[in-house]
């Protein structure tokens, strides 16, 4: 049975635009060749990392949502691991809420990086007593 997954990988910033596209195409093909089905894709471009990974401070982020057999995930991660261009990756199975959220987000393609979640209902800020926090530290 096919299950829906979401995978994000970070490529080294030393790649040129074409090399980066090529690496992305490789993983895209890998999914399709293994009876997978790409549901959506997002290219976040070159982003700053919150901490350095392999002495790099930036990286190309790429996200793919796909449907595949559960066995395929291990294969995909093995390929990530073997590929020197990939500095970090994350793959996880999506539950029904995650799928619903992704579909809703896909419906509004204008803001790919900016999530839709906050626009309909503004979430109030957490009200935290500053004194309590001081105690915690």
């Amino acid at each position: 049975m096919l299950k829906q997954y979401e995978t994000v990988f970070i490529l080294t910033p030393v790649l040129s635009e074409t090399q980066m596209k090529e690496a992305v195409a490789k993983f895209r093909d890998l999914i399709v060749d293994n009876q997978g089905e790409i549901v959506y894709e997002e290219d976040w471009g070159l982003r700053k990392l919150a901490y350095s990974i392999q002495k790099k401070t930036t990286g190309f982020y790429h996200l793919i949502g796909f449907k595949a057999e559960p066995d395929f995930v291990a294969k995909l991660e093995l390929q990530y691991h073997r590929d020197e261009r990939v500095i970090r990756y994350l793959t996880f199975a999506m539950d029904k809420h995650a799928i619903a959220y992704a579909e809703k987000k896909k419906g509004a393609p204008k803001e790919s990086a900016v999530p839709v979640k906050e626009t309909p209902k503004r979430v109030p800020d957490v009200e935290i007593d500053p004194e309590i926090i001081d105690e915690e530290e």
Partner: protein, 88 residues
């Protein structure tokens, strides 16, 4: 003898009006916590990037688990730092 009305305090006793905390996810009807939205997740972190307890944020247990999961995914993908000073 002093009747209760006449009792005066040197320092007026501070009466704290406690605000009821609530789970913002339940209130806003959010079902899924997105790990990609680092700015949103920062509301659940302290300045060192640690996850705040439910006791402070009022998040329900169900969503606290989801928040924790999302924060950990974001950290793995370098969207949020593992350790830092002066986050925010």
């Amino acid at each position: 003898m002093a009747t209760p009305n006449e009792i005066r305090f040197l320092n007026p006793p501070t009466v704290e009006v406690k605000k009821k905390k609530y789970c913002r996810f339940k209130k806003a009807g959010i079902k899924y916590v997105d790990y990609k939205d680092a700015e949103f997740l920062k509301r659940f972190l302290n300045e060192q990037g640690k996850i705040l307890p439910r006791r402070l944020t009022g998040t329900s247990l169900k969503f606290q688990r989801k928040v924790a999961q999302a924060v950990k995914r974001a950290r793995h993908l370098a969207l949020l730092p593992y350790v830092t000073d002066l986050l925010k």
